[in-house]
């Protein structure tokens, strides 16, 4: 806990990095709690909390989730800049022929830094100034691979349908990439940077893109969002279309990673494809709001981790972003100027079906997890989902389904109209 005293001692004692205690409840929080996990922890007896955690986090006795002690520098940054920190370790079985492959992975969630009415250059600078200490905290914690939230350089302005926000788009090697390349090199850290991309070599087309920066500060490659939403205020197809980069897996110094951007998490085939290409960790940088998607948030990433035997890092931005001009939402309600509450709740999911508690629903945060990537193959060997997947049957089915005259396999009750 980031209390003001005894941080070094705390780290030495191996206590968890968790929510800041004793602070005022975040504005809008329910019952003063920042997450479901903390709500239950504060209100259940230790025995019942343990049982609830077992069921909610998918823990089993053989593989508990351990809290990780973080260095004083990290906790000081978290306190100074008022961001949430949580750190947990997933374990794996010992193998005889492979050494453990433990990587430390970080996720950053944040609200925007200044009002959307400020000059665009001021907005960009402010958000970089806000992100830097959180990246520094990740660096100080020895994070190997770090992922930022979707379109982190800007407000999520696509609800407005105003084209002027396109100005925030940058080429792959633009300002935000250069900013993170320096930090990647400084901290020997792979950084996944989801931005609005301006494809200058193809007629200045705009894409929703993740830039993968290597631990030497080099650009390894990019991935463009595969599935584009048309739901609620997510008017993203007004700005960019479906990505054309397939399902690349990036082999970095610390492991094989993929990026399933935002709405792609609703598509099991998208998750599957990264798995078929060998991903060990798939990040899901997102921007999504409570009323629309919160029921799905604890489900989809965990299901993907289970089904594909890889780790998932889920990130959602935080806070409410108010725009200069009001807009309507196609829901019959009056015009309004905000998108709703981005509920944060970033967390990790593991292939053994466990997951970490989530970061705050209200505050910026850094989630850290140690994961032994050997667990991916261990779970593949145990559950044999690949071996039993019958991909041939589904390749045929999808090919048939694509035909305009596809006839679904339906067996009609011949007595259907008899008496019902």
């Amino acid at each position: 806990m980031a209390s003001s005293n005894g941080k070094a001692a705390q780290a030495e004692e191996g206590k968890a990095a968790q929510a800041q205690e004793g602070k005022a409840a975040p504005e809008g929080s329910i019952g003063g709690y920042e997450s479901l996990h903390r709500l239950l922890e504060a209100n259940l007896s230790p025995e019942l909390f343990q049982e609830a955690s077992r069921l909610l986090l998918g823990l089993n006795c053989a593989r508990p989730l351990e809290a990780i002690a973080l260095p004083e520098a990290t906790m000081t940054l978290a306190e100074t800049h008022n961001f949430d920190v949580q750190a947990f370790r997933f374990s794996a079985d010992k193998e005889f022929l492979r050494q453990p492959r433990v990587v430390r992975v970080g996720l950053i969630q944040n609200s925007i830094a200044v009002p959307t009415t400020c000059h665009f250059s001021e907005q960009k600078k402010a958000i970089m100034d806000k992100i830097r200490p959180i990246v520094d905290a990740a660096g100080a914690s020895g994070v190997n691979i770090l992922c930022l939230q979707e379109a982190w350089t800007m407000p999520f302005a696509f609800c407005t349908r105003e084209k002027r926000w396109c100005e925030f788009a940058e080429p792959v090697n633009g300002e935000s990439t250069q900013f993170l390349q320096e930090l990647a090199q400084k901290y020997n850290m792979v950084i996944v940077s989801p931005i609005l991309e301006r494809d200058v070599n193809h007629g200045e087309t705009i894409w929703n893109t993740a830039v993968i920066i290597g631990n030497n500060g080099n650009i390894i490659g990019i991935h463009r969002k595969n599935h584009i939403p048309r739901v609620g205020d997510f008017n993203e197809s007004t700005y960019y279309m479906e990505g054309n980069t397939g399902h690349p897996v990036f082999e970095t110094a610390y492991g094989k990673i993929g990026v399933n951007i935002c709405y792609g998490r609703h598509h099991p085939l998208n998750w599957l494809a990264f798995g078929l290409n060998g991903a060990e960790i798939v990040f899901n940088p997102s921007a999504t709001v409570g009323e629309l998607s919160e029921p799905m948030w604890p489900i989809e990433a965990r299901n993907a981790a289970i089904a594909n035997s890889y780790f998932v890092g889920s990130i959602n931005r935080v806070g409410t972003e108010v725009f200069p001009n009001p807009f309507t939402s196609g829901d019959g309600k009056p015009q309004h100027a905000d998108f709703g509450h981005f509920y944060g709740s970033s967390h990790f999911s593991a292939p053994d079906a466990s997951c970490t508690p989530s970061l705050s629903r209200y505050r910026d945060g850094l989630a850290i997890s140690d994961m032994n990537l050997n667990l991916c193959r261990q779970i593949k060997d145990k559950w044999a989902f690949r071996m039993t997947a019958r991909y041939d049957m589904y390749a045929s089915l999808l090919s048939e389904y694509l035909k305009p005259d596809y006839k679904p396999q339906v067996i009609v009750d011949p007595l259907i109209n008899k008496r019902a």
Copy 2:
């Protein structure tokens, strides 16, 4: 609540059918609670319980989950035969061009009725005698479509690898089917009956099969389990192989249903295929034990309901089954005679990402849900997952992946060995 007084009045007052209160805690239950939901209800303030429920059950303010009042006959049967009953209503928006299509759906979970050492004919008879009052309760409640658990006519004996349990296999029109055909006709109810099938027309091959019985007592068709586990004590591939019936959807008097049997729930493509064929409700009759799969249980069915815009009914058997001869489990542990605890927890999931609380982890039970099938198309229109799915990309990918020389799409960091 199945208290001894005032049941009729209770039903009239519209109270919920829920756990029997005031009974001794089930043996082995943690803190005396039968399910996570009841644990939280008993230990959190109403305000916090409401918030926890919102997050856990995926409820949103626009569509609350309502408890349904059941008739006195149902509650009396539940009390007399000591089974859990829960009943909830999922709602949907009003449409202008279609009437609501509300169906009442039931799920039955149960333990075996007599020890596995009893004569096989006694075991079969005892389990039918046990099931009958629960089916009667469903009938008395006006259930339209009822699904039983996987291989409901027998203990889940595949852990033993003993071939003698094959005697429990029956032809599609065998004893258990005839038993349920009578009840289906009596209650004007579609019944899904998962059994061990003896395929007498194909060399007496054994399959894991669901028989779909129409509300007139006729056999509409069958579906055979598509994915067969080889994990833990699930030695099922010793007894039967992957099904050859594709992904049929049965158009019944009450809606289009599919059956994803047990281990098939780990395969998103299996769920997808029933969706592509037009299923509105997919049942997942299962037999699975705590240590192995409980972390996955609340995740996979809900994910399937979300991803495919249909309802899911999940069923798991209950209790510990002890076999006459000990066996080993390939886990280095000594021989033993039981499979572990089947944790029940049957429940429903809806396409809007909500779900019902689960039945008891310890007792037999009947879960009932009213669902307006119009919700399926409403969610398809809202979220547009089909429209945005890019099936062509995945048909191509799977076809490529099937080739022995498939090369995964991997982008290697050229500086990967520089300093990490």
